[in-house]
């Protein structure tokens, strides 16, 4: 068995917990400098010295996405601006985006975290790694880039889209490891076949990292068969740096969450008390290896569970299951996080539209498609060009807000669920749900 950092990855649980307490203490010391946590710590009497064990975590209040928005952009920063070298921002959220800042040391640590993940699934310095993530503010681009470079692999920042070019790179540069969202991996398989290339025989691909989009075990198997690779599930979120938070090992049975980087709790989203061993609950994370912007007990809203028992791979960091949904109404479509309220906000801005709408997400071919149906309000019905222009304008504004293009359909009044009470606003018909 080979490890990127054997000592840490296979550390005895008791030692790992000691390390967590030590790092939590250090993180409290750093975070006291942030306007947001400084105030909270004073109120709650939280000081580095008062942290004795992991039980002390219960004294911390939860941090939510709302807190990040309300303190936009730098209210949670714990270091002076001159120490900050990078800023990332989450995609597609209402109101203020959420901003995460990093020091150079944070970036070093993050690159190490991603390198550790990729080493675990077999990436070596002799490999060629191609990243089909969007670059820019989205953390899947630079996150994987720096991780793979840290590991020493030849790294191709192909970025998203242009499938024929992706295939050309894979062929010409001898790509062995690819990172893609699952739906795009299936799309690429199609493009290979359209171009008369059999990816199993004609490419050097061995490994795929797939994440950022919910997918089923069947979908993974299908991708593996189509491309002739092993596909590993990865989990990350921009609030926790980005990719690398948890990753599957070669056992393909649960994702190791790196407990020297975060303290992971799984709590009942209603009572916010720990769930019973192995039960499903909301993943709540505390960063213990970050200085520019530590987060304490951050509610990810992702539902998962700890897998019981030890992993045959020898790593002692606990495994979480494939995600089993959300404790809020966020949807993940084509790797983009979308809240229904974002769509509602746009629709309600049109006086020509009524109050009721319905979002349907379904798998068409290998792609997730979103349809937005909305009832008409006060509009001249006999004016064809106007209705068509209206559809076009709604589509344009939605695309600006949620970063993907939905199909917009105007429907008659009274045909959609009413807005009173608990209206069903989202129908997710995707196969993996």
């Amino acid at each position: 068995m080979e490890y990127w950092q054997e000592e840490i990855e296979t550390m005895k649980r008791s030692d790992l917990e000691k390390l967590q307490v030590e790092r939590l203490r250090k993180t409290v010391e750093i975070a006291m400098n942030s306007p947001f946590y400084g105030k909270i710590f004073k109120e709650k009497g939280i000081t580095p010295e008062s942290i004795k064990s992991l039980d002390d975590l219960k004294r911390f209040p939860f941090t939510t996405k709302e807190d990040l928005r309300n303190n936009y952009p730098f209210g949670l920063a714990s270091v002076p601006k001159e120490k900050i070298v990078r800023l990332h921002s989450s995609s597609g959220t209402t109101g203020n985006p959420t901003v995460i800042v990093h020091t150079q040391e944070d970036l070093n640590q993050w690159a190490n975290q991603v390198a550790r993940c990729m080493y675990m699934v077999g990436l070596r310095d002799t490999d060629v790694f191609q990243n089909t993530s969007g670059y820019g503010m989205f953390t899947g681009g630079l996150g994987f880039q720096y991780g793979a470079e840290r590991l020493g692999a030849m790294t191709i920042p192909a970025a998203a889209g242009n499938s024929k070019r992706q295939v050309k790179f894979i062929m010409d540069f001898g790509t062995t490891v690819l990172h893609a969202i699952p739906s795009y991996a299936t799309r690429l398989a199609e493009v290979f076949f359209e171009m008369g290339i059999d990816p199993k025989k004609d490419t050097k691909l061995t490994t795929l990292c797939i994440g950022a989009e919910p997918h089923s075990e069947e979908q993974r198997k299908r991708i593996e068969q189509l491309l002739g690779v092993k596909a590993y599930n990865c989990f990350g979120m921009s609030e926790m740096n980005g990719p690398g938070v948890a990753f599957e090992c070669k056992e393909q049975n649960g994702l190791h969450i790196w407990e020297d980087y975060v303290i992971a709790e799984i709590l009942d989203p209603e009572t916010l008390e720990p769930v019973a061993e192995g039960e499903v609950g909301e993943l709540v994370l505390t960063t213990i290896n970050r200085e520019a912007m530590p987060l304490f007990r951050y509610r990810t809203r992702d539902l998962t569970r700890f897998l019981p028992g030890e992993c045959p791979c020898g790593r002692t960091h606990r495994r979480i299951s494939r995600f089993q949904g959300r404790s809020d109404d966020m949807m993940i479509v084509k790797g983009v996080n979308i809240f229904p309220v974002q769509i509602e906000k746009i629709l309600m801005g049109f006086k020509e539209l009524g109050m009721n709408y319905l979002i349907t997400i379904e798998t068409v071919g290998n792609n997730d498609e979103m349809m937005v149906e909305v009832e008409l309000g006060e509009v001249r019905i006999d004016d064809f060009p106007k209705l068509q222009a209206l559809t076009k304008e709604i589509t344009r504004q939605l695309k600006d807000e949620i970063l993907l293009t939905p199909r917009v359909k105007l429907v008659e009044n009274g045909t959609l669920p009413q807005s009173e009470g608990k209206a069903v606003r989202v129908k997710d018909l995707r196969k993996n749900h």
Binding site: R380, I381, D382, L387, E412, N413, G414, T415
Partner: protein, 141 residues
């Protein structure tokens, strides 16, 4: 002098046109003229009936997406060149016709048209002594 036309927004759903028309026939309202325009998602039914006010209320009571628009109806001789000559009068006056539908009765043709510039359209009709058709005439055809 304009005529009230009812426009109905119809989803492309099997049986929907039939359903909407049955609301009118149940209320003993006769459809004098109708046209349906369609897209892939929806259709627009334009209607002139024997009792527009009542028809509109009936449709609204059934939650049908409908509204009333003003259109102009002109009666011309139903002969080879008259249609094109009439449209030409509007074109020469710089008036765009948004949409139009026509039907013939005996030797006459009735043109129902919608333009965004009603005043200019009246001028054309007056200057060229075209025959207006008013609502009461139309529903008695």
């Amino acid at each position: 002098m304009t005529i009230n036309q009812i426009s109905v927004f119809l989803e492309n759903k099997f049986g929907r046109l039939n359903e909407v028309l049955s609301f009118l026939s149940e209320a003993k309202i006769r459809v004098v003229a109708a046209t349906v325009a369609d897209t892939s998602d929806y259709g627009i039914l334009r209607l002139i009936t024997t009792d527009q006010q009542k028809a509109f209320q009936i449709l609204k009571s059934h939650n049908v997406s409908a509204n009333v628009n003003e259109v102009i109806a002109i009666s011309i001789d139903s002969c080879i060149s008259k249609f094109s000559e009439t449209v030409e009068l509007f074109t020469k006056a710089g008036i765009s016709i948004e949409y139009m539908y026509c039907f013939s009765i005996d030797k006459k043709a009735i043109l129902v048209l919608r333009t965004s510039n009603l005043d200019a359209a009246y001028d054309v009709i007056r200057k060229n002594s075209l025959n207006f058709v008013i609502e009461s005439q139309l529903i008695n055809l």
